[in-house]
């Protein structure tokens, strides 16, 4: 089955990003096709390259990057949200992590069209 994931929270704000990653790993292990992960709202902060997780915690950012390399899953950062949070490709202090790219909402539309399931992950506020 073809999936798209929609992630609205970064790793530091709640558990949704972590659960999304574990869900993605489960999809991979079961042989499903994860077409793309679309990060929106504060979820785009998952694409920051300069954040460090404590050594005794799962580094979700690097795991997303590794998953993208391993499975060819696209990691899209919503351009409108990225601009809101100051995440720009040419801003050194806010560099984008490997495997992530800034795209428009049209890519979410395209991913939804090409997927059989879309699953949203976001922490309540």
């Amino acid at each position: 089955m073809i999936f798209t994931l929609h992630v609205l929270s970064p790793p530091e704000l709640g558990t949704a990003c972590y659960h999304a990653f574990r869900f993605a790993e489960a999809l991979e292990s079961k042989g499903h096709d994860l077409k793309c992960v679309f990060f929106q709202d504060a979820g785009v902060l998952t694409g920051l390259s300069h954040c460090e997780s404590p050594q005794d915690e799962l580094d979700v950012r690097s795991r997303w990057s590794a998953l993208a390399t391993r499975t060819s899953t696209a990691l899209y950062l919503c351009s409108a949200s990225a601009a809101r949070f100051g995440l720009m490709p040419d801003t050194p202090a806010l560099r984008i992590a490997a495997g992530f790219e800034i795209t428009a909402l049209g890519d979410l539309v395209a991913a939804q069209r090409a997927s059989e399931r879309v699953v949203s992950f976001g922490d309540p506020r």
């Binding site: 709202d41 504060a42 409108a80 909402l105 939804q112 399931r117 879309v118 949203s120 976001g122 309540p124």
Partner: protein
């Protein structure tokens, strides 16, 4: 129902994605992201269904829809019919909880009970939750 206009669809009829907005307009940018997403799907003729529940109904109240320093979400919501989203569904119980009267809602808003919205959500796929 055979109305071919995007957004003007019968409940239960399979259409484009459902955009489900539950966040208060003042609680970050998520509600705005939801409305932007609905507009994007509409632009691509994907006929989104838009549902407001919980604190998300405050996006429809003029006084609450414009957090300090930000554009009013209500103005953006008022523009939805221009993108052929001719109905939005609103949870009546949430309206009561937040003391919002039906008179405050845009004319194209349709009030539904939680049970009716639950059925609607179960008939729709995919659902993008904000």
């Amino acid at each position: 129902m055979t109305d071919s206009k995007p957004g003007a669809v019968a409940e239960g009829e399979r259409t484009g994605p459902t955009i489900w907005i539950q966040q208060h307009p003042g609680a970050g940018l998520r509600a705005r992201a939801g409305i932007d997403t609905a507009l994007s799907f509409a632009v691509f003729e994907e006929s989104p269904t838009v549902i407001f529940t919980s604190a998300g109904v405050c996006c429809l109240s003029v006084p609450w829809a414009a957090p300090a320093g930000r554009k009013s979400l209500r103005k953006l919501i008022n523009s939805l019919p221009l993108y052929d989203i001719e109905q939005i569904f609103v949870d009546g119980r949430s309206l009561r909880e937040y003391n919002i009267s039906a008179d405050e809602l845009p004319g194209f808003a349709v009030i539904r009970s939680p049970e009716e919205l639950s059925k609607l959500l179960h008939s729709q796929a995919p659902i993008l939750s904000f």
